[in-house]
């Protein structure tokens, strides 16, 4: 023990420096050798190598039961996100209370914003007798304390397993004056053991729309020129929804976003805490019934909702997280087609600038191999954009992806010579992706923060472009949709590529001949 301490008031060492000091290194070594009874370093090294092998990959892909590092959450968080895009709406999650703490935490860690939602806090007695009293008291408390304009009810798996009936419970609570009879309390059953967060999103949007539009089919509903748009569960919603509104403004189209979280998840710091901010108003939601069409930006987030819109006589169109030049073209052409207005010159100019930027940078993208993972629609959108850049999407993986989705991805890959080494993996997880990357190397991974473990293990650089992004700040404030969004995505990818080249060419006198000033 020397008398010199590593820690000091002058230069406070953080964990990433402190624990590398010799006294801690010695402590770790002692703990390991004397107390942990772990496996030998040689054995750990052997197994580590084995996990990178084809043999391991075969065993890994033979898995039928355990899911490891999936790219999906459960329904209620998607439902909560959907509800939070409506003005003054308080999500009320019926079931165990811990779930709500988790959803709020998860969304907060990504958006760096408060996230408000309540639980009916069901416990063991409610498991036996049902959660009716929790609903009655819970709605009354939530209404009195948080003064919402709407309470959107969804369920945890506990309430689903015991079979609580939301419609009956809400009616009952209204009879007991928990909330006024005319107060909107839309609901959706959101069992965690069916689908994932994107299905929960779909269920809740449908629940809210049917609350105001009625459940019955009516193909002859009178129509206006308005076009509805449902963004879907999107970590970049703050930037993207604002970009969509800007595009609609350029167009002069009356575009109504159904569930717009962009203001609620991006409130200013000015001394006032806004529990609710912005969002689709109740009046707008009601009027949206009369829109001539509803567009979905994410097909797999809106399967039932779009069907419901059709039953109201609306035209529908679905996209798959449209990113890049041609996907944006299609979106704009659809808007032009529906509105009867030409694509404005200003957007055509933006398109030209985007294409110009791609042309300026194509040498660094051409032939680069990518792994992409995330929600089904994101994967489709990202794959298309990569192909457009001359990059090669190789492994495209989504735990929420179905067989149908795999075919859809394959079709996109088949449409380009750059897609020939690509394959889609639906229902697979990030531990599968680890095997894929070790056995069939890529240059870059596109995903979310969870991908940093893949980056660490495989040394393949990660580009964070989808929810959740916990360990980088504020990217969600910038759009990824539209030509402007595509430009942002392009820059993010290029920055990572250039940083990677720099990091690999910065050893003085050894590799730095390629440490180029100009690229």
């Amino acid at each position: 023990m020397t008398d010199k301490l590593s820690q000091s008031a002058d230069k406070v060492l953080d964990h990433y420096t402190l624990f590398r000091q010799p006294e801690y290194a010695a402590m770790f070594e002692k703990k390991k050798t004397e107390f942990e009874y772990g496996h030998s370093d040689a054995e750990v090294a052997r197994v580590s190598e084995w996990t990178k092998s084809e043999d391991y990959k075969a065993k890994n892909f033979a898995r039928e039961a355990v899911v490891i590092n999936p790219t999906k959450a459960c329904q209620p968080i998607g439902a909560m996100f959907a509800a939070q895009g409506f003005e003054g709406t308080l999500p009320f999650v019926h079931g165990s209370q811990g779930c709500v703490a988790y959803y709020r935490t998860h969304l907060t860690r990504h958006f760096k914003e408060p996230n408000s939602a309540v639980s009916s806090s069901m416990t063991e007695d409610a498991a036996v007798f049902g959660g009716l009293n929790n609903m009655i008291d819970g709605l009354a408390n939530a209404y009195a304390l948080y003064k919402p304009k709407m309470i959107a009810v969804m369920t945890t798996c506990m309430a689903e397993v015991i079979g609580d009936d939301l419609q009956g419970f809400i009616a009952n609570a209204k009879n007991k004056d928990s909330v006024p009879a005319d107060f909107p309390v839309p609901y959706a059953h959101t069992p965690a053991f069916v689908g994932s967060h994107i299905v929960g999103y779909d269920n809740m949007i449908k629940g809210i729309l049917s609350n105001f539009w009625g459940n019955s089919e009516n193909f002859d509903t009178p129509k206006t020129e308005q076009i509805n748009l449902i963004p879907g569960f999107d970590g970049f919603a703050v930037g993207n929804n604002r970009e969509l509104k800007r595009i609609a403004g350029e167009f002069g189209v009356k575009l109504q976003i159904l569930s717009d979280v962009s203001d609620n998840f991006d409130t200013p710091m000015d001394g006032e805490y806004r529990m609710y901010d912005g969002g689709t108003t109740i009046e707008e939601t009601k009027q949206a019934l009369h829109a001539k069409a509803t567009l979905s930006m994410q097909e797999y987030n809106t399967t039932q909702t779009l069907q419901f819109c059709k039953e109201k006589g609306q035209e529908t169109a679905k996209f798959n997280y449209p990113m890049g030049v041609t996907a944006t073209d299609e979106l704009l052409l659809k808007l032009a087609d529906l509105s009867g207005k030409p694509v404005p010159a200003s957007l055509k100019l933006e398109r030209g600038r985007l294409v110009d930027a791609i042309a300026d940078s194509h040498t660094h993208l051409h032939g680069k191999r990518f792994a992409v993972y995330g929600d089904p629609d994101f994967c489709l959108g990202m794959t298309r954009f990569l192909l457009e850049l001359g990059a090669e999407p190789v492994h495209i993986l989504s735990t929420s992806g179905s067989k149908k989705w795999e075919k859809q991805v394959q079709k996109v890959l088949d449409g380009s010579p750059f897609g020939k080494s690509g394959a889609a993996y639906g229902g697979k997880d990030l531990w599968h992706l680890r095997s894929l990357i070790f056995t069939d190397k890529v240059d870059y991974i596109i995903g979310n923060s969870y991908g940093k473990y893949l980056e660490r293990d495989t040394k393949v650089p990660l580009i964070r472009l989808t929810y959740p992004i916990f360990d980088r700040h504020h990217h969600h404030r910038y759009p990824t949709w539209g030509y402007q969004g595509a430009l942002n995505v392009l820059v993010r990818i290029l920055d990572r590529i250039f940083e990677d080249i720099d990091a690999n060419t910065n050893i003085v006198g050894e590799t730095d001949y390629s440490f180029d000033l100009i690229r």
């Binding site: 801690y24 750990v44 996990t51 209370q97 416990t123 965690a192 710091m269 805490y273």
Partner: protein, 479 residues
């Protein structure tokens, strides 16, 4: 310190005003959880460890969070299966910064998420068969795993699965401990029962079924660290002090801990408990069964660290006692320098705390060491014994709130305008929007460690950077 300077707010009146917003039934219930600490009080005069009221935005979690998220999750050489639907494990994946050293995916699994990903058919037909398969697959793909725990999510207890039978069968088959934990989220009223259930599972499925390692050689100086989850490295900056005074830390529960450390714990001469709330159960059990005494300690802030080191050393011989004095003296210049640097910037600043476990009382003296004052504190999931331990730390007039609701906390903070709010991620941005400096005191706001002398320097620096950042000064637009 005089509390009359703490606040110009009539706190009792404030409580009544805030309660006014509730419907009558809930107002009566919530009133029992709020109090202003009286002089010479034996406890905080609040009711605790009862059900949260529906619809009020409690900050609490669930039993699964207490077991998987807190107690079991950090044991690094085991794989913890989030058994049931995908969400619980997904949301708690890498959420708590339980630092560990190991080759993740090969001999350690702390930052991975394993789930049986229940589908509708598993709910209808039961998930035991799937669980068998999950364990087989884990053992094949991760041959170096030293044990497996089954962390039950809500549906498990509702559909009548027999995970204990699966655990027994699979443990025999793979020759490793397989531990079923009945921590379904609907059990109990908060994380707290999950801690207890997790402790009981260690008692029944580790202590009862395994033995300390045959080659383990005891010394008279063997202690354990119980209830330190190594958030940002807390257990490490604690362990180093215990080793410096000549003790041997034979087990860490559970941050950076291993199965072997759990198994060897009955060999300890004394169990040292940091988070009393989450692990007192197993300490009491070991006292009864193995005759191992346990002692609470507090490694937040130099006053408490020195007091704790002396208390711990007092259990051992003169050599250890002398070492403790030497260690305290060794760190004192650094502590003095930290206080000299930061105290002038923090003195008199008022803090409101709302967290869980031990921190609503344990961190108080660390703030006092920096000249700061606590004007409100409360626990997410305390029991009465926590509130009995609290008056020792806080002063008369302190506002106490148990299982505070988002509504109440917002109103209290708004009225009392502390200089710092110390709470969790769900609260962070609410108060920052209000223009109040904030530190997360669950995750140390991605900083830490905060334990030990090395941690105190970081703690002091962090409180300073939160309170004295220039951003608060530009909040108001000049137009």
């Amino acid at each position: 310190m005089s509390l009359s300077e703490n606040t110009t707010v009539d706190v009792k009146n404030l409580v009544n005003e805030v309660l006014e917003a509730y419907p009558e039934k809930s107002r009566k219930r919530r009133a029992k959880h709020l109090n202003v600490l009286e002089a010479e009080a034996k406890d905080c005069g609040v009711k605790s460890n009862v059900k949260s009221i529906p619809g009020v935005m409690t900050i609490r979690g669930c039993a699964y969070a207490g077991s998987k998220g807190v107690v079991w999750g950090p044991i690094k050489d085991m794989i913890h299966i989030s058994h049931g639907p995908v969400g619980c494990g997904y949301y708690s994946w890498s959420g708590r910064r339980n630092y560990y050293i190991g080759d993740t995916g090969v001999d350690s699994w702390g930052t991975m998420h394993f789930t049986s990903d229940f589908q509708e058919k598993d709910i209808v037909f039961g998930g035991d068969k799937k669980l068998h398969k999950v364990i087989e697959e884990i053992n094949e793909l991760f041959p170096l795993v030293n044990g497996i725990s089954i962390q039950s999510e809500c549906p498990i207890g509702l559909i009548g699965d027999d995970i204990e039978a699966v655990a027994r069968a699979k443990s025999a088959e793979i020759g490793k401990p397989v531990i079923p934990v009945r921590c379904e989220g609907f059990r109990g009223v908060s994380q707290s029962l999950g801690h207890h259930i997790a402790n009981d599972a260690i008692r029944d499925w580790v202590f009862e079924k395994t033995e300390p390692k045959a080659d383990f050689v005891s010394t008279p100086y063997d202690v354990t660290i119980i209830g330190d989850y190594n958030i940002g490295g807390d257990a490490w900056s604690s362990r180093i002090l215990l080793e410096e005074i000549g003790l041997r830390v034979i087990a860490q529960w559970s941050g950076d801990g291993t199965m072997a450390e759990l198994e060897n714990t009955p060999k300890a001469k004394v169990n040292l408990i940091h988070c009393y709330r989450s692990m007192n159960y197993i300490a009491r059990h070991m006292e009864e069964k193995f005759n191992i005494p346990w002692m609470e300690y507090n490694f937040f802030g130099p006053s408490q660290i020195a007091e704790s080191l002396r208390k711990i050393a007092a259990l051992f011989d003169d050599k250890i006692k002398e070492n403790a004095e030497r260690v305290i003296a060794r760190y004192q210049p650094m502590v003095d320098a930290v206080i000299a640097k930061y105290k002038p910037r923090l003195e008199g600043k008022k803090v409101m705390i709302y967290v869980g476990g031990l921190r609503p009382r344990h961190v108080v003296d660390a703030y006092h060491d920096l000249g700061m004052e606590i004007i409100g504190t409360g626990y997410e999931f305390a029991h009465n014994d926590d509130y009995q331990r609290t008056p020792h730390y806080v002063k008369e007039g302190t506002l106490i709130y148990d299982d505070v609701t988002a509504f109440e906390l917002e109103k209290f903070v708004e009225a009392m305008r502390p200089d710092l709010v110390a709470s969790g991620i769900k609260e962070k941005y609410v108060f920052q929007k209000m223009g109040l400096p904030f530190r997360q005191m669950h995750s140390w706001d991605y900083s830490g460690p905060y334990h030990g002398y090395d941690g105190f320097a970081i703690f002091a620096r962090d409180m300073d950077l939160a309170i004295n950042n220039p951003v608060w000064g530009v909040m108001k637009a000049p137009f």
